[in-house]
Symmetry: C2
Subunit: 302 residues, 2 copies
């Protein structure tokens, strides 16, 4: 497989396994598409599906998924803790290998148009695909949720990018867009003073003047086994090529040192592209001339 | 592709491109086998071919390669700087993914027997596949080279493992065996005192009481562009799971510190399995619970 694009759609169903399975089957049955993972959250009444393939395979699987979800999920009868506006609520496309963000933006437009035409579900382009600044942020698009969407799309600024101003009566609207791969990354400290984690989180996150593409918060964590409490800096690395993980590790270390505090361990949640790890190995080992594409054996197979 | 075995045979031809191409074509034409690289050395009159696949594909490609090389290469007319005993001189099998050293040992026996039966080339099993301790070392097997081999195989201790005591009249004998993937790894120092590199090399290598599966030497290197001379610790990491690269980096750093000397950069030569790099990232970033197989996205595709 030369090109790899990853899609991680969220569907508004997390309680009826047969509906989730029927949706996931649309991915499984698409040639060239590989299902990596799926999981449901009952309290959110929402499921996350992860699959990869080249642009054509991901396009097919994504359109089929929206059609099936629109057939089986009725948001008029949907309850859950997580805000939502569509049967498929959000569908991001991430460039993993041999493709650019631009390729994923192009794919999001192709898929967006097909979803509107073939499933009758209007589409907002979001994140990197957004056609207006206020549409980059999914939270702003989703504000008002399914119940308020029929009215919202009548507003001058909120006509969907595809499908016109009439939402699907049961499946609502869907946000489709390109975004870089995200790595969820936590650093545990040898202190139970959560304020230290909060201070460090504020230093490293983009919002408060820290590193670009880093979102972070400080939490108090209780170890389930021992009951011991400790502080944690929890990060979402939204573009690990812009700000690599090692830069956050080293910054958290030297900022923690001010308090005599150390990083006890770090944790990557879920899937992680190998480049995020290899970039860190290259920094620490000073392999400055290493050619990731050519020298990693596996890159010749994928 | 689930299972990956890598083979890196050396053939005794580096001057006639048409012969090298004909041999490489045997790899190219084997379904399920991927040619990664090949290169020829004129002064050695020798070529290295690298390919991967599952056991069945590597078996087929390897047997075809020996047949073709035996047909086209006549060691009675071979001259070159590198010692050699066969048209295919040596054929190692390396476990890369979803297979063990034992799988590669098994493969080496299957391929060894087929080479003897189908190409008429007697085979010595070497390295991990060796049937006697003195056959682990290729240099000991090859001693006497092609010219002395007809006589050597008559000695009580030197009957080949497959094919009996009569060498192939033009293609000699071949060594086949399993070995772990090797990473060639150099560390440059900010000194021109080669003795410091030699001292450190001696500390880290297995032979002199250092780390298992590390071979190392100290060299003086002259930068081709600037003419500046510096000392280098050059390592062959013959099993990066036994002794990971970061352990060598950190040891070279603290041993160099005794002389006020630092590592300026390191270099990995050629191909490197991603796990060698990810293991280092895990150490430096303290991601101690990271699950390589499950959490590296690419492991779900390969």
């Amino acid at each position: 497989m030369a090109q790899i694009i990853e899609s991680i759609p969220n569907i508004s169903e997390g309680r009826r396994p047969e509906v989730v399975e029927a949706c996931v089957d649309e991915i499984r049955s698409t040639p060239g598409c590989t299902l990596l993972d799926y999981s449901s959250d009952e309290s959110h009444n929402r499921s996350v599906i992860t699959y990869i393939g080249d642009a054509k395979a991901v396009e097919e699987a994504s359109v089929k998924l929206v059609k099936k979800a629109a057939e089986l999920i009725d948001l008029n009868h949907h309850e859950g803790e997580h805000p939502r506006m569509g049967a498929v609520d959000v569908m991001p496309f991430l460039p993993i290998k041999d493709c650019t963000t631009e390729d994923c933006i192009e794919l999001s437009k192709v898929v967006g148009k097909r979803i509107a035409d073939e499933a009758g579900v209007p589409v907002f382009l979001y994140e990197e695909s957004a056609t207006r600044p206020e549409r980059q942020n999914l939270v702003k698009i989703r504000k008002g949720q399914f119940e308020g969407m029929a009215e919202k799309v009548q507003e001058p600024d909120w006509e969907p990018d595809f499908g016109g101003r009439r939402i699907h009566p049961t499946a609502g609207v869907t946000a489709v867009g390109a975004r870089p791969p995200l790595v969820a990354f936590n650093l545990d400290l040898d202190t139970d003073d959560v304020q230290i984690a909060k201070n460090i989180a504020k230093i490293i996150r983009e919002k408060d003047g820290g590193f670009k593409c880093v979102k972070s918060m400080g939490f108090e964590i209780e170890d389930e086994e021992t009951g011991r409490k400790y502080a944690q800096v929890s990060c979402n690395m939204t573009n690990f090529e812009q700000t690599p993980l090692y830069r956050v590790v080293e910054t958290v270390k030297f900022e923690a040192a001010r308090y005599g505090v150390h990083v006890t361990k770090t944790e990557i949640i879920g899937l992680c592209p190998m480049k995020a790890m290899v970039d860190c190995a290259q920094y620490y080992m000073q392999t400055n001339d290493f050619d990731f594409e050519k020298q990693i054996l596996e890159n010749h197979i994928i």
